[in-house]
């Protein structure tokens, strides 16, 4: 019996990248998600910045916990209408200040899980916020998303 993939209900996947740190990837990902929701879309945000997960704080849900269901992790649902689903390593840490000091292979393992083991449900857009650089997180994310509908990537930069 073929299992329905957790990403089967996701229409479009958008990566937000930059190369340089601190240019506003997380800010843009958050605002974009909110803007899409205002336009009536169902949106998910996947925060694969394992060392510096900012999105929970930006959406004021840093104290939320994630739960397990049959198909995997249940993302944190935001808003009255529960129209934004969010998954971040921030929810898995015991304390928000805990440092995640991991080497590549461990990060890769978690990212694979984030991609395949989160019960996203039916979404119009899944926005993936990445950390600075062009490293393990980026390679693993793109590899894990390859079998799915990757719409494309948005590059964020400042004029500097």
């Amino acid at each position: 019996i073929a299992e329905r993939s957790n990403l089967a209900g996701v229409q479009h996947i958008l990566l937000v990248l930059s190369g340089k740190g601190g240019v506003g990837k997380s800010t843009l990902s958050t605002e974009l998600a909110l803007a899409l929701r205002s336009a009536g879309k169902r949106v998910g945000i996947l925060d694969v910045d394992l060392c510096g997960p900012s999105i929970p704080r930006m959406l004021r849900v840093q104290d939320s916990a994630v739960h397990q269901c049959d198909s995997g992790w249940v993302p944190v649902l935001l808003g009255q209408d529960k129209a934004i689903a969010l998954m971040s390593i921030g929810f898995l840490l015991e304390r928000p200040d805990d440092a995640v000091v991991w080497r590549g292979p461990k990060k890769n393992a978690l990212i694979k899980q984030f991609v395949s083991d989160v019960a996203w449900g039916d979404l119009d857009f899944l926005i993936v916020d990445t950390p600075p650089g062009t490293s393990d997180e980026h390679i693993s994310t793109v590899e894990a998303l390859r079998p799915h509908q990757l719409l494309g990537a948005i590059l964020v930069t400042t004029p500097q």
């Binding site: 340089k20 995640v100 062009t134």
Partner: protein, 283 residues
């Protein structure tokens, strides 16, 4: 007694766990290493590292200072120090650092095309960092300033596990999300037993060039509060000033090009505070 048995077990466990780790070995010729890190990207690590290196040299012209750009993915040092080109090899097959303003520099940026991305997994990055540390003919340096990339991952671990570090300087803006990451950065150094010398509050305030009105774009005093929480000192406060960015973009950092400016003085002060907190250098 059972407590000495517990301690013996802990020691044995620590010894077994550390067997896989690289042995810490100082870089030949380098007396003290200061790393500039943050956790968060884009808070001014490279700008601060460059200006600190220049300030250390300006403060005492008898001291030799080196600058290592450990940001493999986004090396900024070549541009900021106005250096270009592939390093020469010495007869011993070591890379000769490129020098400008009296500072010996090495960066991934000298080894690849300016626009070429480095899309590498951790393992390759570790090996690149090893080369940038050990296969460079640094000569005799009093201080080696290392500009770290953002995050708390492979590069940070590789550097702290491979070489003894005299101290770490953590740079942050006062913004909440930056402070969150700076806190993680400080925590990381604690985990790998690297002493944190203090925090630098960067981009603290912006003064309008026309009306002189001051705006705290990234919030006010967030870094001071974090320092208090972590029991660390503030080494200095650097305002958000067009000059600092412009001079770095043009390869003439403010400490060198405008030594009388407030910005340069802020960096000189930070260098002094670092020197105050470093242990006595080895003979």
């Amino acid at each position: 007694s059972s407590s000495s048995g517990d301690e013996a077990l802990r020691d044995k466990r620590a010894r077994i766990l550390s067997r896989g780790l690289p042995k810490q070995k100082p870089i030949e010729g380098v007396k003290q290493v200061v790393v500039v890190a943050s956790g968060k990207g884009g808070v001014g690590k490279s700008t601060t590292a460059v200006n600190i290196a220049l300030a250390l040299a300006a403060n005492d012209s008898t001291k030799e200072v080196g600058l290592l750009d450990a940001d493999i993915y986004g090396p900024s040092i070549p541009k900021m120090m106005n250096l270009k080109g592939n390093p020469e090899l010495t007869p011993k097959n070591l890379m000769r650092p490129l020098k400008n303003y009296g500072i010996a520099c090495m960066s991934m940026g000298f080894l690849i095309e300016e626009t070429a991305p480095v899309v590498w997994r951790g393992l390759m990055v570790m090996s690149a960092v090893e080369k940038l540390l050990r296969q460079v003919d640094w000569g005799q340096l009093d201080y080696l300033v290392i500009d770290m990339p953002p995050g708390t991952g492979d590069v940070q671990l590789s550097v702290s596990q491979n070489i003894p570090i005299a101290g770490a300087v953590i740079v942050s803006t006062p913004q909440d999300v930056a402070l969150l990451d700076a806190h993680k950065g400080a925590e990381m150094f604690r985990k790998v037993h690297v002493p944190v010398l203090g925090l630098v509050q960067n981009m603290s305030v912006f003064q309008c060039p026309k009306c002189k009105h001051e705006t705290h774009i990234f919030g006010a005093d967030g870094v001071r509060d974090l320092a208090k929480t972590l029991g660390l000192d503030i080494l200095g406060d650097v305002p958000l000033h067009v000059n600092i960015r412009e001079t770095c973009d043009s390869g003439q950092p403010v400490v060198i090009s405008q030594p009388q400016s407030d910005a340069a003085k802020a960096y000189l002060k930070i260098a002094m505070e670092i020197l105050k907190r470093l242990p006595v250098p080895p003979a």
